[in-house]
Symmetry: C2
């Protein structure tokens, strides 16, 4: 394994263990805890929490400091997947090669497991112990920005627009990017900014990292679209070409496959440009960015 692969693996273990600790703490109905645990353990890449931890390290801070917020982000992301998969939304039976939450626990419990994960993510941030050098103002900033990234002006709004345009193959590139920006970009950006906030970074560095994250988020999405066309369905865990079946607008469709790859590269270069300008210990963040555009699932 190269350095980045082993970093990712190690950070993932750290996140996975803490996620389970946080769930085990709850005194809640057994079926609800099982449903929450099921989707949290369904084998995600943990890109968002890992970006937070890596950002902390880029500021030479201890990554344990960010573990609670990192897990809150992953819980919130997981809730969005559970709700997106519901029959009324994307109606997906499989996620990462496993039956989706509502297939296993029924629709009502899936909706409620999502609601619970969303709500708990805010509790986790508000409950970060004092000793961790995270001030009340920092926690409030983290909560406020998370709600903005995830709520009606962010992820939820993006999902509404995405569903509204499901059968619209004529989206412009601008419209497509705006949907992705809201639906997935803002939470990716938040993950990195949350790390910077925890590291007490100044406004200038936060602004540069926001631009880094913005381009990284688009690159991530383009690679997703590319993998949907050419990817190995065993690796991606979903049938190849599933976007195409749904008439969804994608980067390869709008720009051709060649054009999509070019666009991916442009955003990757832009991301690195801003990351370098931030002038932090960015080796791992760079490695993760490279991993994002080269990944096969």
């Amino acid at each position: 394994m190269n350095k980045i692969t082993s970093y990712l693996e190690d950070a993932k273990q750290l996140v996975n263990a803490h996620l389970l600790t946080l769930i085990d703490k709850l005194q809640a109905p057994k079926i609800l805890m099982e449903a929450m645990r099921y989707s949290l353990s369904a084998g995600g890449k943990r890109i968002r929490p890992i970006l937070l931890l890596a950002t902390l390290e880029a500021f030479e801070e201890n990554r344990e400091k960010g573990l609670d917020v990192a897990c809150a982000i992953e819980m919130l992301h997981t809730y969005s997947l559970i709700h997106d998969d519901l029959p009324a939304m994307d109606n997906d039976d499989l996620r990462r090669g496993k039956p989706t939450n509502h297939k296993v626990f029924g629709e009502a419990n899936a909706i409620l497991a999502g609601d619970a994960l969303l709500t708990y993510s805010f509790e986790i941030i508000s409950s970060i112990p004092e000793r961790e050098e995270v001030t009340p103002d920092m926690k409030l900033e983290l909560i406020r920005r998370l709600a903005q990234a995830a709520g009606p002006e962010g992820m939820v709004g993006g999902q509404v627009e995405d569903l509204r345009n499901e059968n619209n193959p004529n989206l412009s590139l601008q419209e497509l990017e705006n949907i992705h920006y809201n639906k997935t970009g803002k939470l990716i950006i938040y993950s990195i900014i949350a790390g910077a906030i925890l590291a007490k970074a100044g406004e200038e560095k936060i602004n540069l990292l926001e631009k880094f994250a913005y381009h990284l988020g688009i690159a991530f999405q383009i690679q997703d679209d590319i993998l949907d066309v050419i990817g190995d369905s065993e690796k991606t865990g979903k049938p190849t070409g599933s976007d195409s079946v749904k008439e969804k607008s994608t980067y390869p469709k709008l720009l051709t496959m060649e054009g999509a790859k070019e666009k991916l590269n442009e955003h990757f270069e832009q991301a690195l440009f801003y990351l370098e300008k931030a002038n932090i210990h960015d080796e791992i963040l760079k490695g993760i960015a490279l991993y994002v555009v080269k990944r096969e699932n």
Copy 2:
């Protein structure tokens, strides 16, 4: 109108106006904002936000100070109604005499409107302006307690248990009370405690008010069950006897109608006992408690 009726009406107007201001502020997809607005404007009694405002006044504090938190609670309560009404849950077509959210906007938008209201409620509390003499520590406490009241250990957990026992007419009184405590009691308790926190009440008064709110919450639920049997369906907005059709356990079923009324009175008396012990300017809170047990819808 007597004093309490006019207080309730006036406070309701205040809450309603602020709710719409908070929604109008959002830059979100039109259909999403409409769906959020629709259920927020569907004519609720606003008992929870009004309890918060009345608690503030019982401590001789300006109620404007609590308006943001009051509206956050009402948004969170409204999200829970939208999700509860979904086909996968209670499958209700009507709520307060109007078509439910998913009947008007479709299931996907209803789920997302609920998600948006839940997420936005945390943003609202985290964004309370500094000038309002609400310290960062107070805001965090308000967020933490709200998430606890509403999440897996509170309202969501209660709804899971409620659904699981939907066709179980043999619940014990203890089990029934536990479900109500989680599903509705904790948010009612939160509403009052949030007012006390904003008024910088000491621990002793908060504990007494928590007991007041606990008994008030049960009284509220018993009256709901009684109204379901004897209520005028034009006033309650739902068909009389709808719990009975669903084989749901209710207070009248477990205790007979006579017994349920007795129980209601017991909890009402207990509520007043603790309220008086708190030794605050409790005239309005008392009036609201009386209104809760005497109401006809």
